[in-house]
Amino acid sequence: MPPFLDLPTLWAFIIAFAVFAYVVMDGFDLGIGLLFPFFRPGPERDSAMNSVAPVWDGNETWLVLGGGGLMAAFPLAYAIILPALYAPLIAMVLALVLRGVAFEFRWRDPAHRRYWDLAFTTGSMVATLAQGITLGALLQGIVVEGRSYAGGWWDWLTPFSLLVGASLVVGYALLGATWLIMKSEGPLQEHSYRLARPLAIGLILCIGSVSAVTPLLSGAYYTRWFAWPQVLFTAQVPLLVCICAALLLLALSRGRERWPFLLTLGLFALSLLGLGVSIFPDVVPNAVTIHQAAAPPSSLLFMLVGASVLIPIILAYTGYSYWVFRGKTGHEGYH
């Protein structure tokens, strides 16, 4: 047994943190894209867009850190997982191209604004679905031979991966709606409340069904969840999910402004924790552990020095940037 916090384990946590930071920050901004068709063209759409325009680029940088960090810290895992998920990942990056440029283009070209709004929604939808499918396909396991992927280019497409994809769409849409509850007022806020309630119920159902199916996918998952005595610890996760879900519904019905967003993030954090319980210490489930995939200590240590100084600094100025653009996005901004 290696000591609990050796370099590969530490890096697994850093990458998990990057993924969570990505979900926290890009989740609502993709969610706003998903909800865009429900908003009326004009002030409603513009306000929604304005609430993320200065921060979307930083949000997506966490995705680059997740991908780049995986290559640097776990090159073998990067080399196996990415070709296995070729189609959804290519779809994801292309979708991010479309929605990313839409932020600028829709302002530069009022005559074609509805086309760039469509690109924004389509891009957000495809990127979200692809991220969910990627997660689902990884969870259900991929075929590995030697040091590479050995399956076909459609292996990722299964009912389970589609279920996870759809769940993520619901989850990001809820993040988007609750973000707008926090950042807007008036009709846009009311509209967001109306969207958030069914989405919250939908997300709770999605988390329930994905959680019910996951332990059945592989014997190892089942053991990690239900073996005695760790079941005493793992059982806390679904318990907390139930508490968080109940509080979320309560916060929405009482018309709270910040709590719905924070509680939705809580649900995401617990889901990520559940994912960790299922696959740890593997990085490619049932095929490659984090220790087998880890880069040599010289690589991990070199990066750790930088990460331990730089990530806190990054969080500080990211916080500053959000602080500069704090407050509500309202109709007063329009002349």
């Binding site: 513009d46 304005n50 609430s51 325009a53 200065p54 680029d57 930083g58 940088t61 680059v64 850190l65 991908g67 780049g68 960090g69 290559m71 640097a72 810290a73 090159p75 990067y78 080399a79 196996i80 990415l82 070729y86 189609a87 290519i90 990056v93 292309l94 991010l96 191209v97 479309l98 990313g100 440029v101 932020f103 600028e104 283009f105 302002w107 530069r108 009022p110 040091r147 590479s148 992927y149 280019w153 880069a295 040599p296 010289s298 690589s299 070199f302 930088g306 730089l310 100025y317 990211t318 940037s321 500069v324 653009f325 704090r326 407050g327 509500k328 309202g330 901004g333 329009y334 002349h335």
Partner: protein, 474 residues
């Protein structure tokens, strides 16, 4: 459509396509970020309104170019894994950390302050805003530092060992980062970015001078750009020459392909100006050449012996025609840039910088030259590294992912369609912004063309004294 190609060739074409499209934007935004910092600094220092107007004019263009650079860059960070998985597995321990440092030191810095730079002037005041501009400009440079270090290591690998799994394992990070070709490549690429931006700014200035000779904004930008070109073009030729000598030392086959030297020349090699390289026959047909000058340039001696590709195993040859021609395109454009810079100096000393129309037409024609030269230069160095991804150590054919050809063909087609639509539209919007003459009271990117304000969030009370903010100065 792609039936006749195998998965490897498709993957190479996809990488070349996506990286070329991507690099167009950083090549422009590295220089433009610095130019914006200079303009804002000049405005804060002199309080001349023309600098503020130019700052806002180019900031709108920067916002578009930067967004396109960001999204095309996300594609690159995943493509190493999707299409070059064996390469990633073997080389990840060395170049992965370099790229992770790029993300942590550069991408976050740029992204974190971009919002403030684009939309935050009225919120943070001019001085803090200038800090944001400097942060973004510094970020673009740091980004170039790390990614060029990674690329240079693939050209001139040092400081590594190979482990039992066949992975390159870092032994000395300083040796890896400052590998032999890195300093030359960094200087050459950053100069190239400055020239690219100067040529675009100069071309836009020239266009507006041709239409309205007295436009003060057009005069300032044209004068600044021409000064930059006159200064950097000769320095770039010097840096390129030194880079070439470095390549001769560490990657001789690349230089043989650039020069079209299929045969060895024991008593001085000719400089082949033009000709048709024939890879099969191993010769340059219809060559126009100057005897012994290649030896003079590369060895600084007329009769110095030069080895040719005939001393290299054919299996290790790069594809010569591509390297040969892309190199000539780059050098030819470099000479034209030198000519433009020199002519502008001449005009400046005779007092005709703003009135000599042939110079303006020349500058206008040269506006896209930087992009073409930069891409040609990258084609020279990347195609010249073939058939290896890590020069001499890891073959390209042994680097690719185990993907089926239809998968790569489908993705390549999707990239081509999406990129042409998105970057075609984006280039159109940039040209539309450039067509407007710079004028007094220029609006910034926080205002859409139909007058809508794009700020995100409204501060309950003004965070700064409105009298200190931009709007009040104009």
């Amino acid at each position: 459509m792609f039936d006749q190609y195998d998965a490897l060739l498709l993957a190479r074409f996809q990488f070349a396509f996506t990286v070329s499209f991507h690099f167009i934007f950083p090549a422009f935004s590295i220089g433009l970020a610095s130019y914006l910092a200079v303009l804002e600094g000049l405005w804060l220092w002199t309080k001349h309104e023309v600098y503020l107007n130019l700052f806002k004019y180019w900031l709108k263009i920067f916002a578009l170019a930067f967004a396109m650079g960001v999204v095309s860059g996300i594609v690159m960070s995943y493509q190493f894994g999707t299409n070059w998985s064996v390469f990633s597995d073997k080389v990840g321990p060395v170049i992965g950390p370099l790229m992770a440092y790029e993300v942590m030191t550069a991408f976050f810095l740029e992204a974190g302050f971009l919002g403030v730079m684009l939309f935050g002037m009225t919120r943070v005041g001019p001085r803090l805003h200038f800090v944001a501009t400097l942060a973004v400009a510094t970020g673009t440079f740091i980004s170039a530092f790390w990614i060029l270090s990674a690329n240079s290591w693939m050209q001139t690998p040092v400081g590594y060992a190979v482990n039992a799994a066949g992975q390159f394992v870092p032994e000395n990070w300083l040796t890896i980062i400052f590998n032999p070709s890195f300093p030359y490549r960094l200087v050459h690429t950053v100069f190239a970015a400055y020239l690219t931006t100067a040529l675009v700014v100069g071309g836009v200035g020239a266009w507006h001078l041709l239409r309205e000779r007295s436009n003060p904004g057009a005069r300032v930008m044209f004068s600044m750009a021409m000064g930059m070109i006159a200064l950097v073009a000769p320095l770039q030729i010097l840096a390129g020459d030194m880079h070439g000598l470095n390549t001769l030392e560490h990657q001789p086959t690349k230089v043989m392909a650039m020069e079209g030297h299929f045969e060895s020349h024991p008593e001085g090699a000719p400089l082949i100006l033009f000709g048709i390289p024939d890879q099969q026959a191993g010769t340059v047909r219809d060559a126009i050449s100057i005897p012994k000058v290649s030896s003079l340039i590369l060895r600084h001696e007329l009769n110095a012996p030069m080895k040719g590709l005939d001393t290299i195993d054919r299996a290790n040859w790069p594809y010569v025609p591509v390297v040969f021609w892309s190199f000539r395109i780059m050098v030819g454009l470099g000479m034209l840039m030198l000519a433009l810079g020199t002519l502008s100096l001449l005009a400046r000393f005779r007092g005709g910088l703003y009135t000599w129309r042939p110079l303006h037409w020349f500058a206008l024609a040269m506006a896209p030259a930087g992009f073409v030269a930069v891409i040609a230069g990258w084609v020279t160095t990347e195609a010249g590294r073939q058939p290896f991804t890590v020069y001499g150590l890891l073959r390209t054919a042994a680097s690719a992912s185990p993907l089926e050809a239809p998968a790569v063909a489908a993705s390549l087609l999707a990239f081509i369609v999406v990129y042409f639509i998105v970057f075609g539209a984006g280039t159109g919007y940039i040209l539309k912004l450039m067509r407007h003459a710079p004028h007094s009271g220029e609006s910034g990117p926080e205002a859409g063309p139909d007058g809508l304000i794009r700020t995100a969030g409204i501060t309950p009370a003004p965070a700064v004294n409105p009298a200190r903010t931009l709007g009040a100065e104009v």
